[in-house]
Amino acid sequence: MISPSLLYAYAVAAQPEGAAPLLRLLRGVAGIDGVPVTLVSDEPNGDAMGMTVLVSAVDSAAYLPDQVEARVGELAWLAPRAEAHDRVVTAAADAVPVVPFPILSLFRDEAAVRAMLAERRSELRRVLAHLRGAREYTIRLYRDDAKLSAALAELSEPVRELERSVAGASPGQRYLLQRKLDEERRAELRRVSREVAQATFGALEPIARQAVREPLPAAIAGAEPRESSSTQPAILNASFLVDDVRLDDFRARLSELITAREHAGFRVEFTGPWPAYHFARETRDG
């Protein structure tokens, strides 16, 4: 190679279970910039667990810190790299447990990768053990404002009462009462949403090995704090690390919840299995 290269790191797996299946698998997966994916492995002495890191050799001229920092804000530059990163990590995670690196993790050379492995071995080992036999799934819950508004009187005592008052009010009172009712409806819509989100998370959390609620994706959470143009705002964004042997329980519980919520205007988006993007760092507390 003419210009010196840096190593772009995607993820870490355990040796020896990772090495062979990953090599087979990665022959068919293009890495960042279309560069093939290779492995950097270490062979520690004694009974310490060996690790293997998925890497691609990238042109250092394009990935020196000032180069990256200058271009990382350009979506046309960033998008294919985010996609390649996810593609490689996903392919690997489908085969063996892996700890993903954040996007744009770069090492100077193989020695630097091995030094990282030596330094982080016990933590990586703990995380890999935590991930074994489980996969990550994400659940987003969206509220359908039209449907939920229609069902709101059924769900909310204060709204029912105000509706009765409006119906029985004189024309003079009606205007003020109607405004109060509109306000109450908005508040109740938010309250019911919070309750449904909490109940959904609470019903699924005990089935999962680990669970995390995340901020709502800003783009679809526009309804809070100000009412947005979106009529299907997200009300729950949560990720679950689910044991493979409990996945059917998890799906059954989710199916029940969907059946129970459908009429009131909630929509569930259930995606996965993902690489364990949300559960690969949570070791310090556990």
């Binding site: 996810d86 100077r108 630097a112 994706p217 679809i220 969907i258």
Partner: protein, 76 residues
Amino acid sequence: MVEPVRAGAAADLTLESDEEEPLVLSDLINRVLDKGVVIAGEVTIAVAGVDLIRLDLRLLLVAVERLTRRAASTGE
């Protein structure tokens, strides 16, 4: 029973026309970003040995922010 849907790379998404899919793209970047680390402006600290190259990714955060706002304004 409800089946999980594969998304991200697993779904063979192509993001070449990111103008059309700001939400998908910002979601993907958020996933591969490890925000706990990048909030401080640097990728790496959580995984870093001294030899891991440190990058200032604040611009990346700005880009993602811009994407999500664009998605919000299209009401998606």
